[in-house]
């Protein structure tokens, strides 16, 4: 099923730029490269985790894939029922509305992602309502069944409550139910567990994985937490300043990170072992905004590998941002020095 030639979703040179400092009278000349010509694909039934520091473009990527924002450039292909790929970036009107049934999203903050004035039933049934699916009775039953599936049992005691009557974990389960009610095959989950406590987070993570197996879902699982990524995805992509710098099987990337940024990221994760003296991550400086980035490796300023040569490695200094290349066995990295 997961042969690489049958991707569910395929992204090519996708970009999203935001103008900075523009006003009514003046068109801006500078842009934030929130997402900068990224390419990846997700095979059917597999999940990809997207990790990186705050502001690196994870949420923007998620919003592009759900068509909440229009791309500055590039293509997003979704596999049709017959196996052909259709470009989403061009969809409009009714086509776009029908596409919505296949791609859904789960948001980070369960306290903000549910309308406080709608009951749980209304929230979960909303996609059915706007898509015109099912009669009222059928919708009731679909919603109730789904609530039980996401662990809100008995459904009848949840259906007509309001979000403020539920805990954070329960709300996030409601949000999952809303995303799944139209039976999508691709779900963008933007930090779905980062606001939840450990003892509840694991339950929600496990639930999401079980549902993926049962329903044959693929996730784009956005997180800043590598450990969460490890438990929720088959593949891992690391983003830095709008670029994907490394991509491969999750276990492989975590065990043998190739890109210096990934290496730093992994070595910065606190070790849950008091006896272990974790070495300092090999990185310098801090993250900056990708405003009109210079045409060279985005990581150059912070890269200790490039700094080994006095005055900076000429290859890294003189050339454009390195391409994301297969360094063997489907493990991609964007670095000249691998």
């Amino acid at each position: 099923m997961n042969t690489p030639d049958s991707p569910l979703i395929k992204v090519e040179n996708l970009s999203l730029y935001f103008p900075v400092g523009s006003s009514f009278f003046q068109r801006s000349k500078s842009h934030i490269h929130a997402v900068d010509e990224i390419s990846f694909s997700i095979p059917l039934g597999r999940s990809l985790a997207l990790v990186g520091e705050s502001g690196c473009g994870k949420t923007s990527t998620g919003k592009l894939l759900t068509r909440l924002v229009d791309p500055t450039g590039g293509h997003i292909y979704l596999r049709g029922k017959d196996g052909s790929l259709a470009d989403l970036a061009a969809l409009k009107g009714d086509e776009l509305k029908r596409f919505r049934r296949r791609v859904q999203m789960i948001f980070q903050d369960p306290y903000e992602s549910l309308n406080p004035r709608l009951t749980i039933f209304d929230t979960v049934a909303e996609p059915l309502l706007v898509q015109g699916l099912g009669s009222l009775g059928e919708r009731e039953e679909m919603v109730a069944r789904l609530l039980e599936q996401v662990g809100l049992t008995p459904a009848s005691s949840f259906l007509f409550r309001f979000p403020h009557e539920l805990s954070g974990g329960q709300r996030q389960r409601v949000a999952i139910a809303r995303a799944l009610v139209v039976r999508p095959d691709f779900v963008v989950a933007d930090e779905p567990t980062s606001m939840l406590d450990v003892s509840i987070r694991t339950g929600v993570m496990n639930l999401m994985m079980e549902l993926a197996d049962q329903l044959g879902l693929s996730y784009l699982y956005i997180t800043h937490d590598l450990a969460v990524a490890r438990y929720t995805s088959h593949e891992l992509a690391v983003m830095y300043m709008g670029k994907i710098v490394e991509h491969g099987e999750t276990e492989e990337v975590l065990a043998n990170p190739l890109h210096p940024y990934t290496q730093a990221l992994i070595s910065a994760v606190p070790a849950p072992d008091p006896a272990y003296q974790r070495p300092a991550p090999a990185i310098r400086g801090g993250i900056s905004k990708p405003i009109d980035p210079a045409p060279r490796c985005r990581f150059y300023e912070r890269c200790l590998r490039a700094a080994q040569t006095a005055g900076g490695d000429p290859v890294c200094r003189e050339n454009d941002h390195p391409r994301l290349e297969d360094k063997g066995g489907g493990h991609f990295a964007a670095c000249y020095k691998v």
Binding site: Q170, D197, T202, M205
Partner: protein, 324 residues
């Protein structure tokens, strides 16, 4: 030799709300030695911040101290008068607040804000001396002294957090309380802040209480760890013991629910249920509705917080065996 800086004895605090009393801290006891670093770990709402606020006598108006004492060098903080409290705050105990880095005032220079904090708690310093002290503090937390005259928005998140730490260190307190100081930061920045904190704590031989919901972070900064659940401390021991031989079922459950990037990928075990609403805490052991080891007594009687082996306290009727 008495080396105890701080002793909490049976501290019990409730908040009065329109719906009733929230039992936020219930019978918490622990000691802290001079120069010792302790971690407080627990889920949100379990009372960590409430403990920190009580230590500084900064409880909100609706807080009611039911029982207990907080002894700082043998003196009960809860019985201090206004003047004593003012002298104690910042000079003896200071705090880095949750989300403190957003609390810097955007319209004042960072250096001036630190000077202001010093003035408030230590009286006037001659300007030159104050300036020298701020430079010293900046150096201590690893910020370039050139940044003294800059505004908060010119600082990155990590630098802001360090500036807040510098402010907390301004009056050389003997105890610093850090309430989730790195929760809003990215891992790489978090790593830098944690390293600075650890270094400073050792260098100044200061005591520290580090509060977090993340046991991995706690493991890196604290020599001993107190685990909180629903307003109570359920286990207290040296970090190594908490990690390798947890005796309380909740601590053990936390460990097996915690994802890690190292070691074999084992299935994470989720805890059933949710933490209780502290308006209506369960009878007996507050963990009993979620506990796999619960027996009849657990539902009726609160387990005492007792030593189970030297320097290891647990509140449980059926503690786990110490693994060999």
């Amino acid at each position: 030799m008495n080396n105890t800086l701080l002793a909490l004895k049976d501290l019990t605090v409730e908040y009065k709300t329109r719906k009733g009393y929230v039992s936020a801290i219930d019978g918490v006891s622990f000691d802290l030695q001079y120069g010792e670093s302790m971690g407080l770990v627990g889920e949100s709402g379990c009372g960590k911040t409430s403990i920190a606020m009580s230590l500084l006598r900064l409880m909100p108006e609706n807080a009611i101290v039911r029982r207990g004492e907080i002894l700082l060098d043998g003196q009960n903080i809860l019985q201090m008068d206004e003047r004593q409290v003012r002298e104690m705050r910042w000079a003896r105990i200071s705090m880095v607040f949750q989300a403190a880095m957003n609390a810097l005032n955007p319209v004042y220079r960072v250096g001036d804000q630190i000077t202001e904090a010093m003035h408030q708690h230590r009286g006037d310093l001659p300007p030159l001396q104050a300036r020298a002290r701020v430079e010293e503090l900046f150096q201590l937390v690893g910020i370039d002294a050139k940044m003294i005259d800059r505004y908060p928005h010119e600082f990155s998140g990590g630098m802001r957090q360090r500036a807040v730490i510098a402010m907390a260190l301004a009056c050389s307190p003997s105890l610093i309380i850090a309430d989730e100081p790195t929760t809003a930061l990215d891992v790489i920045v978090q790593d830098q802040v944690l390293r600075e904190l650890r270094r400073i704590q050792a260098q100044l031989n200061m005591s520290m209480i580090y509060i977090s919901h993340d046991i991995a972070v706690i493991a890196e900064v604290a020599k001993k760890i107190g685990v909180m659940y629903a307003g109570r401390m359920v286990e207290l021991a040296a970090s190594g013991d908490i990690f390798h031989t947890p005796r309380h079922p909740y601590t053990a459950a936390l460990m097996s629910a915690f994802p890690s990037i190292k070691g074999p990928k084992t299935r994470l075990v989720a805890l059933p249920g949710e933490p209780p609403d502290l308006l209506y805490p369960p009878q007996g052991c507050r963990f009993h509705p979620r506990c796999s080891r619960a027996s009849e007594i657990c539902q009726k009687q609160t387990p005492p917080f007792e030593t189970i082996q030297p320097n290891h306290w647990v509140a449980c009727w059926n503690p786990l065996e110490a693994r060999a």
